[in-house]
């Protein structure tokens, strides 16, 4: 787990590879060619890159219109503005219209830490999880990012892909499945389960390693689909371990932790700890500082598991 990768790079490479094979693939962005890593796409397919300028509502509507004509648009923009500024367009033009638009939220979570809460994308998972007919995908590493791009282009409806800027190691085992509603079990263990998504997956693995040295066996579950959630994996964890810790780079109000909790509480109540940003606007600081600040680290996860088992 030493080498780390920027998932935006994997995203851009996979999108370009797909575009070479399938003329229906187009990119739409909001003056974000650079931050969405679309420079290579523009160079090779200048006519298939629509840059509408700083106009997110128009951007998502244009994506829906392109989908109406048979294209598969990847609509790319910084996650806070794509999801917040155009939330109603995402609901009405894309999800409710069942337009096969792939919404790509770049640099989510704390990636723009120093720029302040206007630029932190911590609400996107809660907002989009509440919308029907819109899979919400949080790839954990470059392998899953590539798989997510391929899956999104091939399925028949819309999706939200959360493409991280944080550098992460490869955590996905070879031949791991990538399907809606399917989690990936990364380690075995029946003392506690740690369910994580995105940047938190590698931290959960480190936490499990620490815990093992203490004789605590934690099951790490990578949950790339926040919606549809793998309820089977969640309930199995609830039934066969002593409790669940969730970890996500976002607010605790309505994201992964809330989804897991609502599944558990209806079918098999167990102790839980939900790690994330605790319903506050985060302060300013580097991304690393902010993750430390909110305990979104391997140490934070270890602490949460210990508390859970001691309770």
């Amino acid at each position: 787990m030493s080498e780390t990768y920027d998932c935006r790079q994997a995203f851009a490479e996979e999108l370009l590879a797909l575009a070479r094979r399938d003329a229906r693939i187009v990119a739409v962005c909001n003056d974000s060619v650079g931050s969405s890593n679309l420079g290579g796409f523009r160079e090779e397919f200048p006519d298939r890159l629509i840059n509408v300028g700083i106009a997110e509502q128009d951007m998502v509507g244009v994506g829906a219109g392109l989908a109406n004509g048979g294209f598969i648009p990847f609509v790319c923009a910084a996650a806070p503005f794509l999801t917040g500024r155009a939330l109603e367009q995402i609901k009405a033009d894309v999800a409710y219209s069942q337009a096969p638009v792939i919404l790509c939220g770049m640099s989510p979570g704390m990636a723009y830490g120093e720029l302040g809460p206007t630029h932190h994308s911590i609400e996107d998972l809660s907002w989009l999880r509440a919308i029907a007919n819109l899979p919400v995908v949080v790839p954990a590493d470059p392998i899953q990012t590539r798989a997510a791009v391929r899956w999104a282009a091939g399925h028949t409806g819309p999706a939200y892909l959360r493409i991280g800027r944080f550098k992460v190691p490869v955590t996905t085992p070879a031949h791991a499945p990538f399907e809606p509603g399917r989690a990936i079990r990364l380690t075995d263990g029946d003392d506690a389960a740690v369910i994580a998504a995105g940047t938190m997956v590698s931290r959960a693995l480190s936490a499990a390693e620490h815990l093992r040295k203490e004789g605590v066996h934690a099951r790490v579950i990578d949950m790339p689909f926040i919606d549809p959630l793998d309820e089977g994996a969640v309930l199995e964890a609830a039934r066969t371990t002593r409790g669940i810790v969730t970890a996500e780079e976002g607010t605790v109000s309505g994201g992964l932790g809330a989804a897991v909790a609502s599944t558990v509480v209806q079918h098999c109540p167990v102790r839980m700890r939900i790690l994330g940003v605790p319903h506050v606007f985060a302060p300013t600081g580097s991304p690393g500082f902010l993750l430390e600040h909110f305990g979104l680290t391997a140490e934070g996860i270890v602490r949460a598991v210990r508390e859970l088992l001691a309770a």
């Binding site: 187009v26 006519d47 298939r48 629509i50 509408v52 300028g53 106009a55 509502q57 128009d58 951007m59 998502v60 509507g61 244009v62 994506g63 829906a64 219109g65 392109l66 989908a67 109406n68 004509g69 048979g70 294209f71 648009p73 109603e88 367009q89 009405a92 033009d93 409710y96 219209s97 069942q98 337009a99």
Partner: protein
Amino acid sequence: MLKPDPVAIEAWRARRAALLAANAADQEMLLRQSSTELRRTVIRMVERAGMGHLGGDLSVIDILATLFGAVLRLDPNDAHWPERDRFILSKGHSAAALYATLAACGYFAPAQLETFMAPLSALNGHPNRTKVPGVETNTGPLGHGLPVAVGCALAARMQGSARRTFVVLGDGELQEGSNWEAAMAAGHYELANLTAIVDRNRLQQGASTEETNRLDPLSDKWRSFGWEVREVDGHDHVDLLHAFRHLPRRGKPLTVIAHTVKGKGVSFMENRVEWHHKVPTAPQVIAALEELQETGS
């Protein structure tokens, strides 16, 4: 998804053939007949549902009758024919007018109109793409139609297709900023295959547009965004026909500002703000239908 109605399709085809073969005066008469029939239909729909937006239905009907009667290239048997012209009703609260028009083309059986806004009906209070053939995108919240239309027009151009995109906007709706984002993009991309029609009835839900958040000088606004602009009488079918058939030059999208009267055709509804979503009483329905009968053809 509702199913096409062969009988209604045949009738629509026959009307269209007669219309295209007719001289200008007869075209005007035939289109006016269609509009009157649609007006009578929407009044009955709103009465039955006990809800609706009659004022805006009546102001937009001549535009819809002209587009679907004589302009749009479409196939009601195959709502998703790839080369169809695209039509988007951005002012989605005028759904009754659109449904009545689509039924008259045979996209679905006219009897379905009786279910307008009934429980589990496909005919929601606002148009839905997955339930109603002929609807291209879901509308209802305002300011959504033009951006999607820009995407449709871009798609046609990228595919080298001659198909056109038409979008009807309410004038009050232009207070939504998303329209101006899209207007700017359409001008920038020089989308000559895009026509935006403004149903300029000068009233919105609560008051006149000019009292609320004024739109004038409206033509200048569109022109400054790189559009060609035509102003027409939105109840004159010949004017409308000429405007819709006109293809702008020099790579400019076209705005047709259609000056209309909210509640058009029913004297006690015309230009009265409360008829935005008021439901007529039984005697008012009888009076309205009689008035339309007298002035109709």
